[in-house]
């Protein structure tokens, strides 16, 4: 019951979105409807002309009387062709335009949804919104103009038939409600299965996606068979849902042929008798059979439209839900201008829990003077990256506040804030683009010279020049054609290419060898000079560079001070860094 109701609600939301979309493209839609109406008028005219010809034949007229009618028919045919062309072209145009525009909207929206949303939403799910759900929606939009013309046609044809002969007309018109009723029943039977089918298709897509992105693990454990079994399993469930639908189709589809045929039989029996009785002419009788014939396809299409409407509406409502999801990180209503400053960052009694409830930071107080550098040290999972991610507002604090040069980060325009805070992530994600484009992500305006000097600083310049295509070398997805250390250095270059007040380096040299690391450290000195820098690192040599170290345990800042002081005063600090470990190894 509850499920039915929620489906009904979905349907309403979905249809309202479809309606809004159709309205947005009303110009093109109108052209298509005009085309459909022209087509419809001709579809109605032609059988009438056929009937006239037959009557002329029965009335033993001359061929010279018949030719003009036939000529008229050909003209009607030409006009009909124009109508069809308009109907189809603009119908397509509206639906594809709407699809493309909505896909852009979805993409843009996804780009703005916060980390917290992406943490819990799988890539596959978002992909489904922007692909299969959208095409479902497009199908129904493409059919909308012709369906509306069809509905008009049914009424007009019914009236024409009734005018020709009320008894026969009414009987023949019964076909319309009978077919529409059948297709509605069919639709309601099929909805459940099509929901299932959609669901299972997306599960399958999930298996594929995961296998492709985790292929290295799959292969190294030789788990191809396991993945294959999972996929086969999903394919089998898709089979079940599809066959469930097929069964309903087998039951209902034949009615779509049988019902018009029954109409023809009724016309034959009833109409034949009335011709014999002289109530109608033979030509009118033939018109009837022709009308029935031309109405079949429109009726089927209309049936199809209503059969698919629930499925498309469901897809539309899912799209609507995504577009209506407000980003967790919201622009302030009245953004405050960032004050001039050197990038002082202050955590004031900050607590933070991820949306799933685990509290990760507890009452963190941390003051990083403008232009100074701080190292974050702590055990795995103690909350270092989390602290770093709060500064550019990837997440909002649960309580307390963070200020940049005296302004709460929540009061700054996001663009202002993020263009002053540069992050080198722990995971070196690169786009499948050229190395240069990847670095340029950090600052699209950067001159070539700046790009190169950033690369030099990150010790990436040398190996980049070693490639045949140099900076134009295109890397694989996620940077897969580079070695781990190369990837990390490109990502570092991307982070330092701009000139931010605050630079955050999250374990940014974990994959490079000691010599390169030492060189990078040397270069970093110059970047760090006068710039607020937050460095997450475990290497003593790096920590020796920073002014202060914040030592974090289980989401608490337990000590703060210069590295060498903490080494002496905080035994746990020395233990986490394992400074004495080599000796007893």
């Amino acid at each position: 019951m509850v499920e039915d109701q929620s489906r009904l609600a979905d349907l309403r939301v979905g249809i309202s979105l479809l309606w809004r979309v159709a309205l947005r493209y009303r110009g093109v839609a109108a052209m298509s409807i005009v085309g459909a109406l022209i087509w419809m008028a001709m579809v109605i005219l032609v059988p009438y002309l056929v009937g006239s010809v037959i009557d002329l034949v029965v009335g033993r007229a001359e061929m010279s009387d018949i030719w003009p009618v036939l000529g008229l028919m050909v003209i009607a045919g030409a006009i009909q062709a124009v109508g069809i062309s308009l109907r189809r072209y603009y119908g397509f145009k509206m639906s594809y335009r709407a699809e493309a525009d909505l896909r852009n909207n979805i993409f843009t929206h996804i780009q703005r949804l916060a980390f917290s949303f992406h943490d819990v939403t799988s890539t596959g799910e978002l992909m489904a919104r922007a692909s299969s759900d959208l095409s479902q929606l497009r199908l129904i939009l493409a059919m909308a103009p012709i369906t509306s013309a069809n509905l008009v046609m049914f009424v007009v044809v019914a009236i024409v038939l009734i005018i020709i002969d009320p008894v026969l007309g009414l009987t023949a018109s019964l076909m319309v409600p009978a077919l529409l009723f059948t297709s509605a029943r069919f639709a309601s039977k099929v909805v459940g299965f099509s929901f299932d089918l959609q669901q299972r298709l997306s599960e399958l897509s999930h298996v594929v996606e995961e296998t492709v992105s985790g292929i290295e693990v799959v292969k190294s454990y030789g788990q191809e068979a396991q993945q294959q079994a999972r996929l086969d399993d999903k394919a089998e469930t898709i089979y079940d849902a599809a066959m469930g639908m097929a069964k309903q189709r087998a039951i209902y589809r034949p009615f779509f042929e049988i019902i018009p045929a029954l109409g023809t039989v009724a016309v034959l029996a009833l109409g034949g008798v009335r011709v014999v009785d002289g109530a109608i002419t033979f030509g009118e009788f033939v018109s009837f059979t022709q009308y029935l014939a031309v109405m079949v396809l429109p009726l089927l299409i209309t049936g199809w439209f209503f059969a698919n409407l629930p499925r498309s509406a469901a897809a539309a409502s899912r799209i609507d839900a995504l577009l209506e999801t407000a980003p967790d990180i919201r622009e302030p209503e009245h953004p405050v201008r960032l004050k001039p400053g050197h990038g002082e960052v202050v955590f004031d009694d900050v607590s933070f829990a991820y949306p799933d409830g685990t509290t990760v930071l507890h009452n963190v107080d941390l003051r990083i003077p403008g232009g100074s550098s701080v190292g974050l040290v702590g055990a795995t999972g103690s909350g270092k990256s989390t602290i770093a991610h709060l500064i550019p507002r990837f997440y909002d604090v649960t309580s307390g506040s963070i200020t940049l040069d005296g302004v709460d980060v929540r009061d700054l325009a996001l663009d202002d804030l993020r263009s002053e805070v540069s992050v080198v992530f722990q995971e070196s994600y690169l786009f499948s683009a050229s190395i240069e484009e990847n670095i340029r992500v950090g600052d699209p305006m950067a001159s070539d010279k700046r790009i190169r000097s950033a690369a030099r600083l990150a010790k990436a310049h040398e190996f980049i020049c070693g490639f045949d295509d140099g900076y134009a070398t295109v890397v694989g997805e996620r940077g897969s054609t580079l070695s781990g250390g190369q990837r990390q250095r490109v990502s570092l270059a991307r982070g330092v290419v701009r000139d931010p007040r605050v630079l955050i380096l999250d374990d940014a040299t974990s994959s490079v060898d000691a010599i390169v690391e030492a060189e990078i450290q040397e270069a970093l000195r110059q970047v760090m000079a006068g710039r607020t820098t937050v460095i997450i690192a475990h290497r003593t040599s790096t920590l020796a560079l920073v002014d202060n170290v914040a030592f974090i345990e289980d989401g608490h800042v337990v000590a703060f001070g210069p590295h060498h002081e903490l080494l002496e005063e905080v035994p746990r600090y020395a233990a986490v860094l394992a400074t004495g470990a080599e000796v007893d190894a």
Binding site: I54, V57, V58, I66, M73, A76, G77, R88, Y89, A100, N104, I110, Q111, T123, L204, H206, V208, V212, S213, E216, K219, S220, Y221, G222, D232, Y239, A246, K247, P254, E257, I258, V265, L268, G272, V273, V275, Q290, A293, L297, G381, P392, F394, D415, S422, F425, F463, G476, R478, T481, G484, S510, V512, A514, I515, E517, H538, T542, T579, E582, A585
Partner: protein, 591 residues
Amino acid sequence: MKYMGSAGDYRVDRPGRLVTRAARLAPDLKWQFIGAIAVASVATLVRLVGPLIIRGGIDDGITEGDKRTIIVAAAIYVGLLVVQYFASAAAQWSVAIVGERYLVRLRSVVFGRLLRLDMGFYSRSKSGVLVSRMTSDIESLQEFASDGAVLALTNLLTVVGVAFALVLVDWQMAFTVFAVVFVLAGVTVLFQRQARRAYDQVREQIGSVLATLQEGITGVRVVQAFTQEDAQASTFGRVNERYFEANMAAARAISWYFPVVAFLRIIALAAALGIGASRVLNGTMTIGTLVAFLLYLDWFFQPIINLSNVYNLLQSALAAIAKLFELMDEKVVVDDKQGAFDLSEPVSGSVALETVSFSYEPNTMVLDAVSVIVGAGERVAIVGETGSGKSTIAKLIMRFYDPESGVVAIDGNDLRDITERSRTGALALIPQDGFLFAGTLRDNIAYADPGAPDEAVWNVLRAMGIDHWVRSLPEGLDTEVRERGGRFSAGERQLVALARAFLSDPSIIVLDEATSNLDPETEIQVEGALRVLLAGRTSVVIAHRLRSAERADRVIMVDGGRIIAEGTHSELVESSPRYKELVEVWQRGAK
């Protein structure tokens, strides 16, 4: 950049080849397929009798003024319709069975092929494109199977049947109609040529839309961090627009073709009426025959229009299957060869690379005649600058790639002679960024052995000293790790990847900077565990933190794809200035 091999012979403009090859995928469905066609033919035949009955009703009933005959004809027709109902239902059902079964097969076969392709293929391809092969391409086949196939089949049969019927009713008029059909055929050829190109483009573009979309989603954190949302959106907008254009090209083709077909239908109708009328007037044809002919005519053009309507389904299906064959034609480079054998148990675990050379791309040698021998149970560390080829050695040991020249061997057997099952059972690689699958922590740790009892999982966790961490998670082993393990910190992900490897109990373990994100204390703790867990196993450790090199039995130093020094840590400190320098820099950093 080229994502996949060339289309080869299976292009959309060779539908015949596509179909025969498609059929070869499921020879066992042949009889079911023939059965389905038979049932559909019966249904169509039954349908075709209808107008003949109407002719009888008109000529013997209406024209003669005999009401009884009219009623009898109607009754016969109704009886026929009952038969037609069941025949059509059976046709729908049997075609669906064949179609859907075929799809199950196709999904399985394509995926199976995908799984066999080597890592080189994967790093060349965009994952979005690969996923779209298995989803949107096969889904367009599904659409065809569930909607199009029955329509196509019955309409095709109807056209053929009606053509016969027309000739039977009146051959002279029939040939007039066929003249129109001849024109139609010419027009159709033109249309098909245009539409094929268009649909091919559509398939091509949907792939890049999906790939761009996927990258926009997976890279969203970087995009936001660098406020590139607008730039990203405009890139996507461009790709999306190209897809729109491709679709519109197809739409344009459809928008001229169908009107022409409809017009030709009216021409045929007018021609038939004209000829029929004059024949009825001069007494060489009955009026019933004319009406029946007109009915058949509708049944002739309607299916042609229907066919053109399913044509885009068919065309998408063909384009999709061509893309799938392209994928299936990718050469399987790394594969079990004929006569591959299992390693003899117990695997002692020696690893040897003999003058191995390798390059990812032509002309850029990554490994140059590298020879390494790791004895059973030995622990060897590989050190060297970033990009020197260390991970590549690891990948060759895993047989992610085959060497260009030289041999990689386990227990003296060339990897290429060993079955995959046996190889992967003996080896485990722990890469730097421990990939986790969406699912529970348990699923991930027990990945290699899904049936492993919790007891075994806990044993490993305890040995690694991270059992308390797992216990502290709200749902313990049942914690959802989310896509790529997003629920965890980088270090935690590495710990899980390590646990996964140990549970699989390999004889040879390759650690590729597997602890690089751990804090030193945890790292040492894990190292301690490693010593216990690695006892009796062969291990190859790649690490920039030289602590592992110090503890290794032997150290190999790689530079620019060659081995430049080899020996124990203390030997190398003595003999290799490069190594000595590395150690000194590292020690300065760590103390």
